[in-house]
Amino acid sequence: MKDTVISVHNLVKKFGSFVANDSLNFEVYSGEIFGFLGANGAGKTTAIRILSGLSKPTSGEVNVAGYDAYRQPEQIKMNIGYMCQKFSLYEDLTVKENIILYGGIYGMSKSLIKERLAELLAKLRFQEYENRMISDLPLGLRQKLAFSVAVLHDPKIVFLDEPTGGVDPITRRQFWEMIYETAERGITVFVTTHYMDEAEYCDRISIMNEGKIVALDTPGNLKKQYNAESVEEVFIKIARPVKN
């Protein structure tokens, strides 16, 4: 039996009369890579904001990392990591200072931060960058570093909101290797993306359209079900059904 780390029942989020999330139902299991797909404006960002405690649901049950989204947002925050579309490190601080800052915010001890910092620099092979300003680093490196910072405190779940936007294919590939490693460490990865080839790397994917989840399964099953060659084809068949 798999452990459930996120469970959502009948989640509804309304902005005035506009329904951004229309009774969502899904579960995410511990250690899996869960792809959250959908066209722009389908309601992905709204859902991810609710799951990460940035926004309150209008109705429905939301449980993240074993805590209730209404009553225990603080506990949720301690147990998740987050990396958004926009770049999330401070450009005028050095690599080391950024890591000390985020480690401190998550209440990590000084010795633990030091240990993690050394580990991280060794793994990414950028010891020589330790005291460099973020603004001096190339975009690919920054992105990888931002991801490492998001999982620095060993969260149960890490939310990645279009983490590979504007990154070259090679860095994207390396980035996904980091995602796999993270999932192997037992951290659940919840990722939204525009790139359909990336969706193929996920354990399971859900596809949203106009505020609803219209498909949820492994990439293989979905391809079979929709008689498609790739997830991209599945996506096009679902998100843009042929009219007339």
């Binding site: 990460s52 405690g53 940035l54 926004s55 309150k56 603080e74 925050k77 301690m78 998740i80 987050y82 990396m83 958004c84 579309q85 926009k86 770049f87 999330s88 490190l89 401070y90 450009e91 005028d92 601080l93 200072e97 000390i100 800052l101 985020y102 401190g104 915010i105 998550y106 209440g107 939310f159």
Partner: protein, 369 residues
């Protein structure tokens, strides 16, 4: 608490790494104090004056010497004809021309009166008014000396004017409080609104909001360094105006610093409010500069007395926080009054602080919804 301190430290790093921020924080106040104090002086010193003496007798000589030796004026040239007056003004150095009528001295002794004209360059109204006032005063003084007590049969009421609180009518008595008022609101509101919108723009705000830091801690952490630095700024400005201009603080310095803290706090909450309504840094800068600087200079009573404005402006200036602080700071620094006389203004500032805080919290919550 440890989390919070790490966050505050990061904000200090931002400030000290960015030489532009540092310059705005400390360079501009220093420059402004010196510029306002020295350059925009309302006192006359060595104003150019030309003399058209059609009489050339002992009395006109004496009077001219008295005027020139007063220290306020410097003789630029002697004119011979009326036609020269225009030319003298156009050369630019002459700000006023004194004309003695023909037979000035003779008329004075035979008829008991004679006339003298002062023509001032009206293209600079402030200087012109000052010059005519000063010369008139000197001429009056001269008449009194000349007539002496014996000649003075008619009862003469001689007003003796003294300026309380600022005996020499030094302009910087007026400018230093004004500059402190303007600098503080500008820096606090501008800096906080920019630093908060910067986090929004760069996406780091989202990451912070997802973190275990509470929104209150984030805002406090961002604002705290500016509170401390602005307070240091007050000390620098006061120290500078004491060293350079010898401007004393007549009242309680503790009260002055406490009121300054209140005013800084008010400005910071205003900055937070601006950051919640502006989408990006440009907007924040625009609102802070245009929305705060001009009204502060024009409507706070900094340069133009509010009493002389049309009633409408008076009402408009009532919502300008600088108006209250400028009253407070002038009272404490120059008149040496205590809290007794400025409690109303203090209350207004407290109310404004609470109002801005309440409004920002509401706006912030709506954004999070």
């Amino acid at each position: 608490m440890k989390r919070f301190l790490g966050f505050v430290k990061k904000e200090f790093l931002h400030i000290f790494r960015d030489y532009r921020t540092l310059f705005i924080l400390f360079g501009i106040p220093t420059a402004e104090i010196l510029i306002f104090g020295f350059a925009i002086s309302m006192d006359i010193k060595d104003a150019g004056i030309a003399v058209l003496d059609l009489s050339k007798d002992e009395v006109t000589q004496k009077l001219t010497n008295k005027i020139i030796s007063s220290g306020f004026f410097k003789k630029t040239e002697d004119l011979l004809y009326y036609n020269d007056i225009d030319k003298a003004f156009k050369k630019g150095k002459t700000k006023a021309v004194i004309i003695f009528e023909k037979d000035f001295g003779k008329n004075l002794f035979s008829e008991g009166k004679s006339s003298l004209s002062i023509i001032a360059d009206g293209s600079e109204p402030n200087t012109a008014t000052l010059i005519t006032n000063y010369t008139t005063a000197i001429v009056n003084d001269f008449t009194r000396e000349l007539s002496g007590p014996a000649l003075n049969k008619s009862v003469l009421i001689k007003p003796e004017v003294r300026m309380f609180y600022n005996p020499n009518l030094k302009s910087y008595f007026m400018f230093v409080p004004g500059v402190i008022t303007m600098i503080l609101i500008l820096i606090c509101a501008l800096m906080t609104s920019v630093t908060i919108t910067r986090e929004k723009e760069f996406g780091t705000m989202e990451v912070l909001l997802v973190s275990p830091l509470k929104p209150v801690q984030i805002i406090l952490g961002k604002v705290m360094p500016y509170f401390i630095l602005s307070f240091v700024n007050v000390l620098v400005i006061l120290g500078l105006s004491w060293l350079v201009f010898g401007l004393p603080v007549k009242g309680s310095i503790v009260l002055l610093l406490a009121e300054s803290m209140l005013y800084i706090l008010m400005s910071l909450t205003l900055g937070i409010l601006i950051s919640t309504v502006s989408k990006n840094m440009q907007q924040a800068i625009f609102i802070s500069l245009i929305g705060l600087m001009l009204p502060t200079i024009l409507l706070s009573g900094f340069i133009f007395p509010i009493e002389n404005m049309p009633k409408v402006y008076d009402y408009v200036s009532m919502i300008m926080p600088p108006r209250y602080f400028i009253t407070i700071i002038k009272n404490i620094m120059i008149k040496g009054t205590g809290l007794m006389y400025i409690w109303k203004e203090t209350l207004v500032l407290i109310a404004m602080t609470l109002f801005f805080t309440g409004l920002s919290v509401r706006k912030f919550k709506i954004r999070l919804e």
